[in-house]
């Protein structure tokens, strides 16, 4: 085990086994990218079905019940199974390299987090084949979801519970990694912005997911074990779910957008060839957004009837968030100001992001005014708003990151030409789809509506919106073609492919050795690689002599722990139907999970060392794999 035998060529089965057992953050990143990408496509197909149904009035492309399932699964999939895992994937791929770490703090837990997310997501999506998907909206408000028949909501509850555990573990892992494993000289105020946003987003995960866990448990107890948390007839209160959901749900949107901000804060300085304007104010704004993110959840509930005092407090707190966000917007613009800008694909996304996101932000402030929100609430105006921030912010960020970090993750460069095609189609499609929805909302089209009548002035707007969606769909297809073509050609690009890399992740050989840094780098300031480049050097100054490197062993246990919960969840769910096998299956699943955990706990795993000689030897051969 303790050799660089990993580098040998393996068969297909060997590669699969390697990925099933890997604890290497770079491979886990690829797994996140694959799984998240897959769910993104599923969610995208659901989006297309929504837009086809709404393209013309009185359409019956899908039935009303199926439509409810589609919108629920579209939202749930995109938030929990696409956007967040994709971001976690980039955090895994980039953050440890940015801080000059050889690995994350808990490689095992990292793998466990991925497999929990994966099995949770698969469980949720199996609902399509096992009697119907959840149909109470991604918010799954209790009064509606308790009345929902079949097992749809059960799939939602159990699937999110499992994948939520995974996300929570991922968050703790990143926090500890950033706090404990920074390279010599990498002080907090020298950390790249993507690392900072990972840090704050992880802290948000840490505090936001427990309320969701509690809410989901209550929903689970209510639906499957006869409890009465949300059942008014038993003295329960459905507003409790709304609060718990949004205490989680609002920080969740910052969990999504902050890493996207981080990605743009890396892309913009790189392609402006200028250091980030106002670095410390960026850090301050990030932390402030994270803090305020917990104080504003009730703005989703203005129309619940919380009373004028509560509404006023939450309205003011919400508007306050515009301030740090504004700081960020101006900093990005001022970074570009006077820079020598290169219009690469990631940079195009970054430039398009600024106005798009500002539009979403402005409608956000409009809704923060509680009295006005009574008009906007539950209309297409809301749909337009959150798609402007999530697509215009998060998805643009993800697309920028895919192009920007592709060479780092795979050693090849996505085609710039096809990338620009994707960009143009996506940008046009995005604004075509969602801009008009503001007006549809103001004209009175309610959100989550299955169809609409002719002659109410909604036809043109909806048709335009659906055409825009088709543009986005084509854009994603072009991106997939780009990926396939690039990987088939397989032209390796080597180290620092963008030529203007500023941070540590660009200072290591490509492909990245599995131990990341042969010698930990000495960080001498913000943008450490740029500093070295300014002095005419091509690599980092090492902070230590070459020595043995400690590495963790691969493990199949994370897969087993997650599989156990996956199996057990079926038992919990079918227990309601008085199926004889349900409880044994639940117990079996839990035994597999806890048995695997116990196995992990009592079986010592010290990892192994790569010896100095092998590292020196390896250097002569020019990297691994």
């Amino acid at each position: 085990m303790s050799t660089i035998a990993h580098t040998q060529k393996r068969g297909f089965a060997g590669t699969v086994w390697d990925y099933l057992t890997t604890v290497d953050h770079k491979k886990i990143a690829i797994l996140y990218l694959l799984a998240g990408g897959l769910f993104f496509l599923v969610g995208g197909i659901e989006a297309m079905m929504i837009r086809i149904q709404l393209a013309v009035p009185n359409n019956d492309f899908v039935s009303a019940g199926l439509f409810n399932e589609i919108i629920t699964m579209h939202g749930t999939t995109m938030i929990f199974l696409a956007a967040m895992p994709l971001l976690l994937g980039f955090m895994n791929a980039v953050m440890p390299l940015q801080i000059g770490a050889r690995d994350v703090a808990f490689p095992f837990v990292n793998a466990l987090g991925f497999w929990l997310f994966f099995f949770g997501g698969v469980f949720l999506n199996l609902s399509w084949f096992l009697g119907g998907a959840p149909d109470a909206g991604w918010t799954s408000y209790a009064s509606l979801s308790l009345a929902s028949e079949g097992h749809g909501i059960d799939f939602y509850v159990l699937g999110l519970q499992i994948s939520g555990f995974g996300t929570l573990m991922g968050g703790i892992n990143f926090l500890v990694t950033i706090i404990n494993m920074r390279a010599p000289g990498m002080t907090y105020m020298r950390m790249p912005l993507f690392t900072w946003t990972t840090f704050v987003a992880s802290a948000l995960i840490l505090f936001a997911f427990p309320p969701l866990t509690v809410g989901l448990f209550m929903m689970l107890f209510d639906r499957m074990f006869g409890a009465g948390f949300f059942d008014v007839a038993m003295g329960g209160n459905t507003v409790i779910w709304e609060h718990l959901f949004w205490i989680f749900g609002h920080p969740e949107v910052y969990i999504l957008i902050l890493p996207a901000f981080g990605i743009f804060s890396e892309v913009i300085p790189t392609f402006s060839r200028k250091r980030l304007f106002g670095y410390s104010s960026m850090v301050f704004a990030t932390v402030l957004i994270g803090f305020l993110g917990f104080m504003v959840w009730a703005h989703h509930m203005f129309t619940t009837g919380l009373g004028p005092v509560a509404n006023a407090i939450f309205a003011v707190a919400t508007m306050a968030i515009a301030v740090p966000t504004g700081i960020k917007i101006f900093n990005w613009i001022l970074t570009m100001w006077g820079g020598s800008i290169q219009f690469t694909v990631p940079m195009l996304y970054a430039i398009a992001f600024i106005p798009s996101f500002v539009m979403g932000g402005v409608t956000g402030v409009m809704q923060a005014a509680a009295p006005a929100d009574y008009q906007f609430h539950d209309s297409y105006f809301i749909v337009a708003h959150f798609h402007y921030v999530i697509v215009g912010g998060v998805v643009f960020g993800l697309l920028a990151a895919v192009h920007f970090y592709w060479p780092l993750m795979f050693g090849t460069m996505l085609s710039e030409k096809l990338g620009k095609v994707t960009f143009v189609l996506f940008l046009i499609g995005f604004h075509l789809t969602f801009f008009i929805q503001h007006f549809l909302g103001l004209m009175g089209m309610p959100r989550r509506v299955w169809t609409f009548l002719p002659g109410q002035g909604l036809e043109t707007g909806n048709l335009i919106s659906s055409i825009g969606a088709a543009f986005m769909f084509v854009a994603v297809i072009v991106l997939l073609i780009n990926v396939v073509v690039t990987q088939v050609k397989n032209v390796k690009v080597g180290m620092d492919p963008w030529k203007d890399g500023r941070t540590l992740e660009w200072a290591i050989p490509s492909p990245t050795p599995f131990y990341n840094f042969k010698q930990l780098p000495l960080v001498r300031g913000l943008d450490p690689f740029w500093i070295e480049k300014l002095e005419g050097k091509t690599e980092m100054t090492p902070a230590e002599p070459i020595g043995d490197i400690h590495m963790p062993n691969n493990s199949f246990t994370p897969f087993m722990v997650s599989l156990g919960l996956f199996i057990g969840a079926f038992g919990a769910m079918y227990h309601v139907d008085d199926k004889g096998w349900a409880i044994p299956v639940l117990i079996f699943g839990l035994v597999v999970t806890f048995g695997s955990m116990l196995y992990r706990s009592i079986k010592d795993d010290h990892g192994y060392h790569i010896h100095k000689e092998e590292l020196l030897d390896d250097a002569n051969k020019g990297g691994t794999r």
Binding site: I172, G215, F217, G226, A227, G235, S601, I602, H606
Partner: protein
């Protein structure tokens, strides 16, 4: 392996739980986890407070009918004492005295089981004497979920400590297992912290109405 190196009380480091990078990471990661647990229990407390005494009809038992001080007092004493005994265990861990550490952990576990026994008796009592069950009212659901989550934490903590004691019985302390013992003890203290709020907010404040 460096982690399995043998020590003497003299060479044993001052903070064995943080002497290795792995230990440091575990230590910090576990504290962060406890920060998350704080929010988890806060949500449960919040729900309990919101649903306290909200029952479908007036013939259901309320908090002030249910709780009795002596049993809760006994449970509190058991858990508080077990917190002290686990402090003793960590004291001996830091002094590299494995035998004494195991003894004190054993006492901790026994106290934990006694606590758990009381809790089972208590729940059983409520169910049979007052027909106050998990499914009888929203109050019942909230009560059993909050106190039951705590009980589940106690159970998990007991199993964890027992597993550690058995696994390491033969080989004694080293820098690989010292962080594990330390974390188990932190977890145990945290359970006690939660209990302090449970006996105050649920029982004492429930008694006064």
């Amino acid at each position: 392996m460096a982690a399995e190196e043998k020590f003497t009380p003299q060479t044993w480091p001052e903070s064995p739980e943080q002497a290795t990078l792995e230990g440091k990471n575990k230590f910090l990661g576990f504290w962060l986890f406890l920060g998350g647990e704080t929010v988890l229990f806060a949500s449960l407390f919040a729900t309990y407070l919101a649903l306290k005494d909200s029952v479908p009809s007036p013939d259901h038992a309320l908090a002030k009918d249910l709780f009795e001080l002596p049993l809760v007092f006994l449970m509190t004493m058991l858990l508080l004492t077990s917190s002290l005994t686990s402090v003793f265990a960590m004291y001996h861990m830091k002094n590299y005295n494995f035998k004494k550490m195991q003894t004190w952990l054993f006492i901790t576990v026994m106290l934990g089981f006694a606590f758990l026994g009381c809790e089972i008796y208590e729940f059983n009592h409520y169910v049979h004497e007052y027909e106050h069950t998990f499914t009888s009212s929203a109050f019942g659901s909230a009560f059993y979920t909050l106190v039951g989550f705590h009980g589940a934490h106690v159970t998990f903590g007991l199993l964890w400590i027992i597993a550690l004691m058995i696994r390491n019985a033969k080989r004694g302390l080293n820098l690989y297992n010292a962080p594990k013992f330390y974390l188990a003890s932190l977890y145990w203290h945290f359970i006690d912290v939660v209990w302090v709020f449970i006996f105050t907010v649920v029982y004492l404040m429930g008694m006064v109405g």
